[in-house]
Amino acid sequence: MIQKRYKLKFSEENLQESVAYILVSKFNIQPNILRAEVRDDGGVMVLEMKGRQEDIDASVVYLSDAGISIKAFDKQILKDLDKCTDCGACISVCPTKCFTPDPATWEIVLNYDKCIACGACLNACPFQALTLPL
């Protein structure tokens, strides 16, 4: 079993597709929808899939064929290292405890495996070093 994160984009034509049901019934995937929103230019979903590698690959092909844009999304939060001062303001606002200080250097390390792309850290950063490209 592996776990992978993807960013899906829907157009007006496929906005109402029930992605989660298809993934479960056809591909035996455990889907976890981290984020879903409908915007003026279509829909955006951040989806985590847990399953066998071949099932995940087949799901990606299926969704892509259905006209949904699907891209790997493993660096959900972009951290601008030039802007970040390692202050740590982000640490306590993150619900999944992604940000931890390195005990030796006090550099603030972002653990992408834990990040659920909620965006709670974005406006907590006084140096505008964090962005969530959806």
């Binding site: 001062t85 303001a89 505008q128």
Partner: protein, 383 residues
């Protein structure tokens, strides 16, 4: 017992023994303050955090024909127009109108100047017989202009309360994002590395003390605003806001690495500055105080949802506990965030240590002592 003169002689000979305020903790624990004081000449401190009461004096030079600027904008941020013709002061918290989602303010202008970027200067004046021009629109850089120095009325707050929020909605404050129902705590200090926590009664730091300011050399100019010596103490160090410093330093020596514009969401803009102050180890008492550790330094926890000036104190926590990632408050674990970069505080203390070890930075004996009395008065609203 050592004198400033003896320490400076050792610095000139590149023989001075310099420790950062963090490194010296273990030395004093193992050898004791007496022995450590014989060995160590200087302890360097450092901090890097938001210091709102900061700003820069600038002199643009005269254009041809000249203008007496009374209304001044730098990258759209208002600067003071009430000085002589081409002098101004730009404050860290002045904010550009229509700055977009994130604010852009005086702190960012100061950072851009120090980074060497072009900054747009627009200014207007009344037009007089001697200053005929009424407006100007040009670009400046730090190299182009005459003088540029930071003059910060209040930096290096000796201690500062940590913050939490008991309301059921998120608060956006100058102490950062405070989650509802005490879900987090923020604090702002470099603790055991912090300048005024390592010389709590200002035995060595005074007017004229040469310091590290924003990557260059600066000086202590005066006591800072809201200077207070009456704060309660624990282990000989104030547990709430106490002494402060007014600092001055040449921007042309500074480095963007240590001077950064910042914006606290829905609060406003500010400036983060790196400040390092050397402490001459004149005797064992100074040594003992400079070796204080986060375990011995405490601060109050305050509820920022109370808007009245007199906020209740919810508890008192050591910086060791705050820095551990969470505190235990009445049986509940509350997660913590620092707002001041410990990595950069260390970088400042290390840099100052390098300067001193290399004989490039001599210590100054204060030319005047900062006050031993003084308290913060409230502003009465009179009708």
């Amino acid at each position: 017992m050592k004198t400033y003169g003896e320490i400076n002689e050792r610095i000139r000979q590149k023989k001075a023994v310099v420790y950062t305020a963090e490194e010296v903790i273990d030395l004093v624990r193992s050898k004791g303050a007496e022995k450590a004081a014989e060995k160590v000449d200087v302890v360097t401190t450092g901090t890097f955090g938001a210091m709102c009461s900061s700003g820069a004096f600038l002199n643009f030079g005269h254009s041809d024909p000249p203008i007496r600027m009374t209304d001044v904008r730098l990258n759209g941020v208002e600067a003071y127009g009430g000085l002589a013709a081409v002098d101004t002061y730009i404050g860290a918290t002045a904010t550009r109108e229509n700055g977009g989602e994130f604010g852009y303010g005086g702190g960012h202008v100061i950072e851009e100047l120090i980074a060497g970027n072009r900054v747009r200067l627009r200014a207007w004046g009344p037009g007089t017989d001697c200053y005929v021009r009424k407006d100007i629109d040009t670009y400046i850089t730090l190299d182009d202009i005459n003088e540029a120095y930071l003059f910060n009325p209040r930096n290096c707050y000796q201690n500062y309360a940590s913050a939490t929020n008991t309301l059921d909605r998120t608060l956006y404050t100058y102490m950062g994002k405070l989650l509802p129902r005490m879900k987090n705590v923020t604090y702002s200090t470099s603790g055991q590395l912090s300048p005024l926590l390592n010389d709590p009664h200002l035995e060595t730091i005074g007017g004229g003390t040469r310091i590290f300011l924003g990557g260059g050399e600066g000086y202590v100019a005066w006591q800072g605003t809201q200077y207070n010596v009456n704060a309660p103490e624990r282990n000989g160090v104030p547990t709430s806001g106490a002494r402060t410093l007014a600092l001055i330093g040449d921007m042309k020596q500074m480095d963007r690495e240590y001077v950064r514009g910042m914006e606290m969401y829905r609060y406003g803009t500010s400036l983060a500055i790196g400040v390092g102050i050397p402490i001459p180890i004149l005797n064992a008492d100074v040594m003992k105080r400079a070796a204080i550790s986060d375990e011995e330094l405490y601060t109050n926890l305050v509820d920022y949802s109370v808007t009245e000036k007199s906020r209740a104190i919810l508890g008192q926590y050591s910086y060791a506990e705050l820095r551990s990632g969470s505190i235990d408050h009445e049986g509940h674990k509350i997660r913590t965030s620092p707002l001041s970069s410990y990595r950069k505080a260390r970088q400042v203390a290390e840099k100052l240590k390098d300067w001193i070890e290399n004989g490039e930075f001599l210590l100054t004996e204060p030319t005047f002592k900062l006050p031993t009395s003084g308290e913060v008065k409230p502003l009465e609203v009179r009708r």
